[in-house]
């Protein structure tokens, strides 16, 4: 066999993009922002455990949750499977491809050799869709690549069976059931409730809005974790990278969430949500301001307390605005019948 006819589209994020493309292939009309919003993908977490050499942060929910929460809230069913044995994983994948079923697989991004080497990092939570095979090569629809790509069997297997944190264990999934009628209003509202919970209600000081504040307080400590200036520059620059270019849609997923709110306002026939989508877009603009500030500090290598506090202050403003935004969204949901 060769390629299954599949509409390849680039997406902001690999998981929401993969789920969207697979559902579109299945005949369900849905956008990436809607998948992301219904699944409550928006999030914030500031992480530093004793085993970590350097702090990090996340601007989205735990990998895998987009698919799981979207399925739970819409009634769409995916079949997902992990494997211990790479040969079995390959056989199952081939079997589905031979039945013309495109299949999403979880991989370590590092082994996706259709990207330039400088761009590839070890991260085990990348999702791609395999849309065909021919001999020892597979055809890949990767949301981060402009075109359909090819990968050899060995690299794909390495990617599917990389070890370490969030090891993919050959995980693959594909949709098996899309309901004829989906209560989109309920799904959207549930998605919003989940986002409010992510940002405001998790009682841990490093998650949600509290996590943004913790980041703001702790960024002045970053120099003590770095062994030299270059390392610190790299880490500060990664703030920009994580907020803008590692599959966020820009502004740390806030632009994507604004698009969801705009679409949701139409489905729920609630013009106030459209107004709130503009607020979220502005919140995203503020995150981009942080990206710019971090890139400047990293480039100039001026890690003075004043400069790092400057980034911290910008983060505090985001925390205040997001706290107020999600509180307001909660009230809007309570008022909306």
């Amino acid at each position: 066999m060769t390629q299954i006819p599949f509409r390849h589209i680039m997406a902001a994020h690999c998981e929401s993009g993969t789920v969207t493309a697979l559902l579109n292939h299945q005949g369900m009309k849905i956008s990436e922002p809607m998948v992301f919003g219904i699944a409550s993908g928006i999030f914030f977490g500031y992480l530093k455990t004793p085993s970590m050499d350097f702090p990090t942060f996340a601007v989205r929910s735990i990998p895998g949750q987009i698919r799981e929460k979207f399925a739970k809230r819409t009634g769409v069913k995916f079949r997902g499977e992990t494997f211990r044995n790479p040969e079995k994983a390959e056989r199952e994948l081939n079997k589905l491809l031979d039945q013309n079923q495109p299949v999403a697989v979880q991989v370590d991004f590092f082994y996706m050799n259709y990207f330039p080497t400088w761009f590839r990092i070890h991260v085990n939570v990348h999702f791609i869709t395999i849309i065909g095979r021919e001999g020892d090569k597979y055809y890949v629809s990767d949301s981060y690549h402009p075109k359909i790509s090819e990968i050899d069997r060995e690299a794909l297997t390495k990617g599917r069976f990389a070890g370490g944190a969030f090891a993919p264990k050959g995980f693959m999934f594909y949709p098996v059931y899309v309901p004829d009628k989906i209560d989109m209003e309920k799904a959207i509202k549930d998605g919003m409730k989940g986002a409010i919970s992510n940002m405001l209600k998790i009682p841990l000081p490093f998650l949600g809005v509290r996590g943004i504040r913790r980041f703001a307080d702790k960024i002045i400590d970053w120099p003590k974790y770095a062994k030299d200036e270059d390392m610190l520059s790299d880490k500060v620059f990664k703030i920009t990278l994580f907020l803008e270019d590692q599959g966020t849609g820009g502004g740390g997923f806030r632009f994507l969430y604004a698009s969801f709110l705009q679409e949701a306002s139409k489905v729920l026939n609630n013009p106030r949500l459209n107004e709130m989508s503009k607020e979220m877009m502005e919140i995203g603009d503020g995150w981009r301001e942080i990206s710019l500030a971090a890139a400047q500090v990293a480039k100039k290598k001026d890690f003075s307390r004043e400069n790092l506090e400057g980034i911290g202050n910008l983060l505090r403003i985001r925390a205040d605005l997001e706290e107020s935004f999600f509180t307001k969204l909660g009230k809007e949901l309570s008022n909306h019948k």
């Binding site: 680039m10 997406a11 902001a12 993009g17 990436e32 922002p33 085993s51 970590m52 050499d53 590092f110 082994y111 050799n113 330039p116 080497t117 400088w118 761009f119 990092i121 070890h122 949301s143 981060y144 402009p146 390495k158 990389a162 070890g163 370490g164 944190a165 090891a167 270059d230 520059s233 790299d234 620059f237 920009t240 990278l241 803008e244 270019d245 599959g247 849609g249 820009g250 502004g251 632009f255 994507l256 604004a258 698009s259 705009q262 989508s277 877009m281 995203g284 603009d285 981009r288 990206s291 890139a295 990293a298 480039k299």
Partner: protein, 170 residues
């Protein structure tokens, strides 16, 4: 953010941003990536510095090739240990040249597989560091080092790599 403020000409890395269109609606925009488009030279400078410093340590026998590749690939000790299936304590030993010399070939191959390099590249450096496209030990891809092409191909022997240096006639 408005679409016009996000557009960036950087074909080497394209991304999707969600942006405000001219009619006020929000939607996807395919454009150049902000970080790479504006700061790629800085990134290359940082990685070059790191590479040079690590290569010096490697040549001086201060670190093992495993340490070199682990750092270059951005892996941590717990992460690499888990991927290779060795304890963190053992891994720490393998980061030093003395501990590295005691490694079995079988374990060495496991490291090479995870690090995505040929086993042979644990014992040699193909020093073309002046070329931005070069990556220490990364396998198989033909690397252009004007006026030569370097190709490292696998053989059926899992420990043997065939390195070809060809004059670039293009």
């Amino acid at each position: 953010m408005k679409e016009k403020d996000l557009i960036l000409n950087y074909p080497e890395q394209q991304v999707i941003y969600y942006a405000e269109k001219s009619d006020g609606t929000y939607g996807p925009l395919q454009t150049g990536a902000y970080s790479a488009g504006n700061h790629i030279n800085e990134y290359f400078r940082l990685t070059d510095n790191l590479n040079r410093s690590l290569l010096k340590q490697l040549k001086n026998g201060e670190i093992s090739p495993i340490s070199y590749y682990m750092i270059i690939e951005g892996l941590t000790i717990p992460e690499l240990a888990s991927r290779v299936g060795v304890s963190k304590r053992s891994l720490k030993k393998h980061l030093n040249p003395e501990g590295f010399q005691k490694l079995s070939i079988e374990k060495l191959k496991r490291y090479a597989d995870v690090l995505n390099i040929q086993v042979a590249n644990m014992f040699q450096i193909i020093d073309t560091i002046e070329d931005k496209n070069w990556d220490a030990g990364y396998q198989e891809k033909v690397r252009s080092v004007e006026p030569y092409l370097i190709s490292q191909g696998k053989t059926k022997n899992p420990l043997l790599v065939e390195t070809k240096i060809i004059t670039n006639t293009k």
